[in-house]
Amino acid sequence: MARLILGLCLSLWLAGAQAGEWSLQTLMAQLAEVKQSRVDFDEERRISLLGVPLRSSGELLYIAPDYLKKIVHKGGQGSYEIDGERLRIEEDQGGEREVTLDAQPALQAFVASFRATLAGDLATLQRYYRVTFDGEAKAWVLTLVPRDKAMARVIREVEIRGKGIHLQQVTTLEQGGDSTVLTIRGDSAP
């Protein structure tokens, strides 16, 4: 019995220690394990030029390490596909164009905020952003402040909230006061 209690205490203590050690590194390591995911999202953009917020919803698809696709179903049809350094935009009128992220450091940094987080690539995140991390496994906040000057002129801060390996909300604050909040509804990692 004493043995059992001792064992219980020990395991509790161990669990406690593990919880305490749950850090940015742990989160990143766990995110890096995720090879593929698909989620639904709702997005709200508040732009001072517009009288009303822009709302849209759709799905997000991620394949490690650098493939990301955003398909908009409601509030403007279209899809945005990022594969490596190529961004392909399909618009609802059937227009299609391609942008090379390399050519535009600001865009590259911006894409990294989301993609490098999903990939658990801390080095890349830290290259583009000053990274602060807060919270615990069940509720964490990652705050990214751009280092790149070109990006800093546009974006003030990106804040990512999550629970465990699941991202829940990405808030982008722009310098002019405009903001975008992307909320993730569900996760279905295959």
Partner: protein, 770 residues
């Protein structure tokens, strides 16, 4: 006698001292390669040649980095660019980062409706379409990046302008900087110094390499620098290094030969006096006459002066027991003098060419040769011992008899005939038509340069249109008038593309016309309100746009004077410039099919001051024209030599005995060069002039009417001369420089042939002469 000697000696020393003073006060060594470019009589040609030398395109250095992964290369490109920009020797370093930087974008942004940024249509439907487009962009994940200029520029006119600016021909951008298709990171640096200020350019290139070497993250990466100035610096370096070690080796070889031939350190020292004196006096005269002496004149001049080492050899070999040096000299002087004078006459041909460099070379060589001969005649004998045993071995000159005599008479004729026949019959071109083949820069460097030019879209100016007028406005307007016709040519496939300043900087008239097309405030407000109907934009969202349209109407149009040191100016400057109070627009054409039809086309355009220029063909024509002129000079030189010989020998028959072997040697040499696959250039011609001079010398000495003993001494002298000359030019022929190789090989073959035929001719003529 002693008195006279000291007078001669002091005169000689005074002359040398004076020459040295003149050299130190006058001599400026120049490395400006353009001295060796032809002077053109066509002012248009001259303008473009000058532009090529000193213009914006000549100041451009192209840089390529390879040997690492693209990410590392991009970082290196950025670091190098930052490093060089702060160094201050470059007006601008560009590597594709953002194209126009933020400050410059802000500067041109207000002018977006005046500059060429697409049609100025502000109707309701067009505006509505633009707003819908913007809304969609706002909705995209990258929307944040379009909001900044949205309120002031809802039609994205500035983006259109920037797209124009980038052009389809810009290099690919990867990791934010330019890359060539072969995976090298590309940059270009425009120097402050002129393209042909080679010292400054060399310094610039060294600085670029030093800056690159100082980068920590360099790894395995390698830097390659090219461009017109880099090529010029490289060729100077090659010429300098090559001439230095070749002349060192050649000098040592000749001195060894002399030491072997006479086995006397005293003679050995004396033999160098004529050459040294000749060199010093020649340098003094050239620097006084021209002020600036080109490094190449010096290098080639010393080479051509090398003949002067023959003069003391003739004297030494003819010394004999029982005769004072003066007596010996008195015997050979008429022959020696005739040889020197006729050789110098040959070089007169160079003075009559339109190449400044060759004129200098001619003056240098002639004055050097005459001085060397004079020193041999009056100074060297003073240093010789009164009694001298003479040459250490006798060289037999066979006398012609029987079959050998027949052979000696027939062989030259046979070879002369077959050489001429070969040259006439050959289907290979005799002359080098392509000027580029004369470049001292190795082919692989020139290939690299072409590749980089292509990758960076730095046009190699071959075909172009030029428009000339009194002011910038007129040439810009006339350029604009050509846009439509040029577009038509492009559609028809006659040209692949064109570049003109007016593409980026429209004429004042066109900018004003665009201002006129801008809508009145009231009309714009109405159209905008109607266009916004049903879209989520705030009513007052585009007030900045309306304000800016109003402001645009008040702007003073941009002119070349507003460009300063912007990247904009870097693009405009080579295409639009003022020279001597006239303005020129240069329209670059690429992928021209059929230059004659284009020349006709430009005449049909009826635009005053419009010229079509095919620079490559033009330069080749120019060079070929000079070659023909030089050839003609050669005939005059030959005639002059014949007259001089007749004046010296007084018998047509003896003149023929001297001249025939020389002519045969020249014909055989040209035929041999042709068989070896050499295409003749101006440099071969120069070398043939040297052969002519040496050949006459050999012929004159071989055909002297002398006693057998003296003939043996002559044989000795000529053998030493020939061996030393063949050694020097044999060494030159191994040079990698086309110029030195051409001269070396030609003289080597020519002197061998001259010696042989002069000897045969003497043998053949002996019975008649004695």
């Amino acid at each position: 006698m002693r008195h006279k000697r000291s007078r001669v000696l002091s005169a000689w020393l005074a002359l040398l001292a004076l020459a040295l003073v003149l050299i130190t006060t006058n001599l400026r060594l120049s490395t400006d390669m353009s001295l060796f470019l032809p002077r053109s009589s066509d002012p248009l040609h001259q303008l473009v040649l000058n532009e090529l030398r000193d213009g914006a395109s000549a100041r451009l250095l192209m840089l390529a980095i390879d040997g690492e992964d693209p990410q590392r290369l991009a970082a290196l490109s950025r670091a190098l660019s930052a490093n060089l920009t702060t160094a201050g020797r470059f007006a601008r370093v560009v590597n594709g980062e953002n194209g126009l930087d933020e400050a410059e974008q802000a500067r041109w942004f207000p002018y977006r409706y005046l500059l060429d940024s697409g049609p100025l249509d502000f109707s309701e439907s067009t505006l509505r379409q633009a707003l819908q487009q913007r809304l969609q962009e706002l909705n995209s994940p990258l929307g944040a990046f379009t909001t900044q200029t949205l309120a002031a520029d809802p039609t994205a006119a500035f983006r259109q302008f920037l797209r124009q600016w980038q052009g389809e021909r810009s290099p690919r951008v990867q990791h934010g900087v330019w890359f060539a298709d072969d995976g090298r990171a590309l940059l270009f640096a425009e120097s402050q110094a002129g393209g042909f200020d080679l010292d400054a350019q060399q310094h610039n290139i060294e600085q670029i390499h030093a800056a690159f070497a100082s980068l920590d993250e360099r790894g395995e990466a390698q830097l390659f620098v090219s461009g017109a100035a880099a090529i010029a610096v490289a060729s100077r370096e090659t010429i300098r290094n090559e001439s230095q070690w070749l002349s060192l080796v050649a000098s040592v070889a000749v001195l060894l030969i002399l030491l072997l031939a006479y086995r006397s350190p005293r003679l050995w020292l004396l033999s160098t006096l004529p050459l040294l004196s000749g060199f010093i006096v020649a340098l003094a005269i050239t620097s006084v006459l021209f002020g600036t002496v080109h490094g190449i004149t010096l290098a080639f001049g010393i080479t051509l002066l090398g003949v002067a080492i023959d003069y003391p050899i003739h004297l030494f070999s003819h010394l004999q027991p029982g005769c004072t040096p003066q007596q010996t000299l008195a015997r050979i002087w008429p022959t020696l003098r005739l040889g020197v004078v006729s050789t110098a006459a040959g070089y007169l041909a160079m003075i009559a060419t339109p190449f400044d460099g060759l004129v200098q070379l001619g003056v240098f060589t002639i004055s050097g040769l005459l001085t060397a001969a004079a020193v041999t005649r009056w100074v060297v004998p003073i240093g010789l011992p009164p009694q001298w045993a003479g040459a250490t071995f006798a060289f037999p000159v066979p006398s012609g008899e029987g079959r050998f005599l027949l052979l000696a008479r027939l062989l030259p004729l046979l070879l002369f005939g077959s050489s001429v026949l070969l040259l006439v019959q050959s289907d290979q071109p005799l002359w080098e038509q392509d000027v580029a083949a004369l470049s001292p820069v190795p082919e692989h460097l020139r290939q690299q340069d072409r590749t980089l030019r292509e990758a960076l879209s730095v046009a190699d100016m071959n075909q172009m249109l030029l428009i000339e007028a009194v002011d910038a406005e007129t040439v810009l307007q006339q350029s604009e008038a050509l846009r439509e016709p040029l577009e038509r040519l492009r559609r028809e496939g006659a040209i692949e593309g064109y570049q003109m300043a007016a593409q980026w900087l429209p004429s004042i008239a066109r900018q004003q016309a665009r201002q006129q097309q801008l809508p009145e405030e009231q009309a714009l407000r109405q159209a905008l309100t109607a266009a916004q109907e049903g879209l989520p934009f705030r009513e007052e969202a585009f007030v900045p746009f309306i304000e800016q349209i109003n402001h645009s109407r008040q702007l003073t149009p941009l002119t070349p004077a507003d460009m300063d040191t912007t990247l904009f100016a870097t693009r405009i400057a080579p295409l639009l410039f003022e020279r001597d109070g006239r303005w020129w627009a240069l329209l670059r054409l690429s992928g021209v099919q059929g230059t004659t039809s284009l020349a006709n086309w430009s005449e049909q355009q009826r635009i005053p001051g419009l010229h079509f220029l095919d620079l490559k063909a033009g330069t080749n024509d120019l060079i070929n024209g000079f070659r023909d002129a030089a050839l003609q000079n050669l005939w005059w030189g030959a005639l002059l030599i014949a007259v001089l010989l007749w004046w010296g020998l007084r018998q047509i028959r003896r003149v023929l005995v001297v001249l025939l072997p020389v002519a045969t040697a020249l014909a055989v040499t040209i035929a041999l060069l042709h068989l070896l696959g050499e295409r003749l250039s101006l440099f071969h011609l120069t070398a043939l002039l040297l052969v002519l001079g040496i050949g006459i010398d050999y012929s004159l000495f071989f055909s002297r009417r002398d006693l057998a003993a003296d003939r043996r001494r002559t044989g000795h002298a000529l053998l030493v001369c020939a061996i030393s000359t063949l050694t020097v030019f044999g060494i030159l022929s191994f040079s990698r420089l086309p110029v030195l190789h051409a001269i070396g090989l030609t003289v080597f073959l020519g002197v061998s042939a001259s010696y042989g035929f002069a000897w045969l001719s003497a043998v053949a003529a002996q019975p008649d002469l004695e």
